[in-house]
C-alpha cells in the first residue's frame, strides 16, 4: 500500500469536567489511503464524532483535551500545527460535513456567499471570481444558479445538505470527513445525496471518512469499515471482511440487531445491556459486560489488535492472528 493520506496513531481524547475525565477516545489508530472511503460505525458515545473533530482540531478545549497520539496528514503531525497552519488546512486540505444541515449554515448569509467565502479564503480570487466558482459548485450539487442569492431558510433539508457539500468540496480537499451526513434526511432524499456524494468523490478523487450509525449507508459508500466501541476501533477491514466475515462479538451483535429485509425473522437478537459510561469504563475489554463470548481473562486486560487476514484487524481475546500491530 502506498503512503496513507491521513494516519491516526494512538489518539486519546478525554473530556475533563469536575475532576472526572470522560474517556471518549482511547488510543485509536487507523490509516486512510488515497481515494478510499473509510466508514466509522458505532453507537452514541462510541467516540466517532470526537475522532473526527480531533482531526479537524475542533475539540472544544476545555473541557476536551487531546491527551496523546499523533495525526499525520501528508507526513505532518496536525496536532503540532499552530492556528495559522490550521486555518490553511481546514477547508482546503481537510474539510468536514456536519450532521445537522439545519444548524451548520449561517442563517443570515446568502448561500452563494457562504460557498464563495471558503473559496476566497483559500484561493487568491476576486469577489467576482469566487462567486463564479461558487455558482459552478452549486450547479455541481444540483442546485440551479438562480438560487445563489437565497437564504438557508428558503431551502429544504436535502438542499441545505447539498449546499454544505458544495462548501466542503469547493477547494477540492484531499480528505473529506462526513459526520452522519444523511441522518437528518428522508430515505429518498438520502438516496439522492449519497448518490451525488459518491459521484463527486470519484470526480475529485477525494479520500473520505464517513461516520454513521447506519450499516446500510456505510455498505453503500465505503471500501473499508471500522467498528467503534467505547472509544476504540474493535474491528476494521474491507467492506466484505466486516459484512461477510465479522469476528468481533460486538460487530456480530450489531448485525443481529438489524431487521433483515430479505429474510423473515420473528425476533431480533439484540446485544444485552447498555453502552458503558465513558467516565467509568470497565477495566479490561470495554465490551466485556455485554459480550456473549466473554471469558475471565477478558476482565484482566484490554486485547491488542490482531490481524486475522490481510487488512482485517480485530481487538478480541478470541482472535489469534498473524501478528500484532497498531
Amino acid at each position: 500500500m502506498q503512503d496513507p493520506v491521513l494516519s491516526v496513531r494512538n489518539l486519546t481524547v478525554h473530556y475533563i469536567k469536575d475532576k472526572t475525565s470522560v474517556r471518549a477516545v482511547n488510543g485509536i489508530s487507523f490509516d486512510l489511503a488515497d481515494g478510499e472511503t473509510l466508514g466509522l460505525v458505532g453507537e452514541t458515545g462510541a467516540g466517532k464524532t470526537t475522532t473526527a473533530l480531533s482531526i479537524m482540531r475542533l475539540i472544544p478545549d476545555p473541557p476536551g483535551r487531546i491527551m496523546g497520539g499523533e495525526i499525520y496528514f501528508k507526513g505532518k503531525n496536525i496536532l503540532g500545527f499552530n492556528k495559522y497552519a490550521l486555518h490553511r488546512m481546514r477547508g482546503r486540505d481537510i474539510s468536514m460535513i456536519f450532521q445537522d444541515p439545519m444548524t451548520s449554515l449561517n442563517p443570515v448569509l446568502k448561500v452563494g456567499d457562504q460557498i464563495a467565502e471558503v473559496i476566497r479564503i483559500h484561493k487568491k480570487l476576486s469577489r467576482k471570481g469566487a462567486s463564479l466558482e461558487a455558482i459552478k459548485m452549486l450547479e455541481m450539487v444540483g442546485i440551479t444558479s438562480d438560487r445563489f442569492n437565497d437564504y438557508p431558510h428558503q431551502f429544504s433539508g436535502g438542499m441545505k445538505q447539498r449546499v454544505i457539500i458544495a462548501i466542503s468540496l469547493a477547494c477540492n480537499p484531499k480528505v473529506l470527513i462526513a459526520d452522519e451526513p444523511t441522518t437528518a434526511l428522508d430515505v429518498t432524499i438520502q438516496a439522492q445525496v449519497l448518490e451525488m456524494m459518491g459521484e463527486l468523490k470519484r470526480n475529485f478523487n477525494t479520500s473520505m471518512i464517513l461516520i454513521s450509525h447506519d450499516l446500510g449507508v456505510i455498505a453503500e459508500v465505503c471500501n473499508r469499515v471500522g467498528i467503534m466501541y467505547a472509544g476504540n476501533i474493535v474491528e476494521i477491514g474491507t467492506l466484505e471482511q466486516i459484512y461477510n466475515n465479522a469476528f468481533h462479538p460486538y460487530t456480530k451483535g450489531l448485525f443481529g440487531s438489524l431487521p433483515d429485509l430479505d429474510v423473515e425473522t420473528d425476533r431480533l437478537r439484540p446485544i444485552i445491556g447498555l453502552m458503558p459510561d465513558p467516565a467509568r469504563l470497565p477495566p479490561g475489554c470495554a465490551f466485556y459486560p455485554r459480550c456473549p463470548e466473554r471469558v475471565n481473562a477478558c476482565k484482566a486486560r484490554s486485547p491488542e489488535a490482531r490481524e486475522l487476514a490481510q487488512g482485517h484487524w480485530v481487538r478480541c481475546i478470541h482472535a489469534s492472528g498473524t501478528g500484532e500491530k497498531l
Binding site: 452514541t44 433539508g157 438542499m159 428522508d186 450499516l215 455498505a219 459484512y243 438489524l258 431487521p259 429485509l261
Partner: protein, 320 residues
C-alpha cells in the same frame, strides 16, 4: 372482517396557515383487526404523525369518522374522551421530551393510575407500578430516579410502562425507536412484540424506517402528502409494490450488505407543498410514469390483489 378494533373512515385534518389550508391528512380510511399491527410509513410531512394523533383525539378532526370496537367515537365530550383513553394509549418518539423531567420514574408510571382512580390503596398501586416496571425491564432501584438519570432506551421503557399502566387495548406508537441506537432499538422492538403477545395489544406503528416497519407490522399503509398511496399486508408489500412511490421508497433503503445489487430508483426533486393541493395526483411532480390522467384527477385506492390496494392511475401499465 370480524374483530375489527378500530376503523377510520375518510379522516381529514386541515390546518389553517397564513398561506392557505394545509392538507395534513386527506381522506384516509383504514381498519385494524384486534391483536395486529398496522404500520404507517412515509417521509417527513406525509401526515403519519397527524394521523396517529387524530385516532387518539389528540387533534380534532376536520372530517371523517372513527369507530372503536364498533362505537362511534368521532365526536366525544371531554369526559367521554377521558373514558375512552384508558383503552387507547400512545408511545411517543422522543423519550427525552415526552416524560416530565420533574417527576420520578415511579411518579410517572403511577400518574395514570391516580387520574383514573384505579386501586384503592397505595399498596396496591405500588404493586402495580412494580409489576409494570418488571414487565418493561426497568430495575426497581430506579423507581426514584429522574428521567435525566436514565439513558434513551430506559426512558423509552418508562414511556411504555406509562402507556401500559391502564391495561389499554390499543396503542399508537409514533416512531418509538427512532431516537435509539441500533442495539437498544432491537431490545425495545422485542419488548413491544412480547407485550403484544402477552396482553393481546393492537398497535399502530408509525415510522419512517422501512426495515423496522417490515419487521413489526402485519399490514402496512404507505402515505404520501396526506394520502394513502398503497395499502397491503406487510409481506405482500415487500414482495410486490404497485405504486411508483412505494417502489422508489423501498429501493432507497440502504441495505447492510456488502456488494448488494442495487436497482435503485432515484426520485426527482422533493416533496411538494401540502398547502392547497390541486385536484391531481400528489406524486405527479416526482413521478417518472406520469401521464395525462394524473393531472386531471386524484387516483382512488383500488384493489389489485386480495387485500392489496393502490392509488395510481397507471398501475396496470407500470406493472405490466
Amino acid at each position: 372482517m370480524s374483530d375489527v378494533i378500530l376503523e377510520a373512515k375518510n379522516l381529514k385534518k386541515y390546518f389553517r396557515t397564513p398561506s392557505g389550508m394545509l392538507h395534513a391528512v386527506d381522506d384516509v380510511s383504514f381498519s385494524i383487526v384486534k391483536g395486529r399491527t398496522l404500520g404507517v410509513v412515509g417521509e417527513s410531512g406525509c401526515g403519519k404523525s397527524t394521523l396517529g394523533r387524530l385516532v387518539l383525539h389528540l387533534l380534532d378532526l376536520s372530517g371523517g369518522s372513527i369507530f372503536f370496537e364498533g362505537r362511534d367515537i368521532t365526536s366525544l365530550s371531554g369526559p367521554e374522551i377521558k373514558e375512552i383513553r384508558q383503552y387507547m394509549q400512545m408511545i411517543f418518539q422522543d423519550p427525552y421530551s415526552s416524560i416530565n423531567p420533574r417527576m420520578t420514574v415511579g411518579e410517572i408510571i403511577t400518574e395514570p393510575l391516580v387520574i383514573y382512580g384505579r386501586y384503592d390503596s397505595q399498596k396496591e398501586r405500588a404493586d402495580k407500578v412494580n409489576s409494570l416496571m418488571e414487565t418493561v425491564g426497568i430495575s426497581q432501584r430506579l423507581i426514584n430516579a429522574y428521567p435525566h438519570e436514565l439513558d434513551g432506551g430506559r426512558r423509552q421503557r418508562v414511556g411504555i410502562a406509562r402507556a401500559l399502566a391502564l391495561n389499554p387495548k390499543f396503542i399508537v406508537c409514533d416512531e418509538p425507536v427512532s431516537a435509539l441506537d441500533v442495539s437498544i432499538r432491537a431490545q425495545i422492538l422485542n419488548l413491544m412484540q412480547d407485550l403484544q403477545e402477552e396482553f393481546g395489544l393492537t398497535y399502530i406503528f408509525i415510522t419512517h424506517d422501512l426495515s423496522v416497519v417490515k419487521h413489526i407490522s402485519d399490514d402496512i399503509v404507505v402515505m404520501y402528502l396526506g394520502k394513502i398511496v398503497e395499502k397491503s399486508p406487510s409481506r405482500e408489500l415487500f414482495r410486490s409494490q404497485y405504486h411508483p412511490y412505494t417502489k422508489a421508497l423501498l429501493s432507497a433503503i440502504p441495505r447492510a450488505k456488502a456488494g448488494y445489487r442495487k436497482n435503485r430508483i432515484i426520485l426527482k426533486g422533493e416533496i411538494n407543498s401540502p398547502i392547497n393541493p390541486e385536484e391531481k395526483c400528489r406524486f405527479l411532480p416526482r413521478c417518472v410514469h406520469a401521464g395525462e390522467c394524473c393531472a386531471k384527477s386524484q387516483p382512488e385506492l383500488r384493489e389489485v390483489s386480495p387485500g392489496h390496494f393502490v392509488a395510481c392511475h397507471y398501475h396496470e401499465i407500470i406493472n405490466a
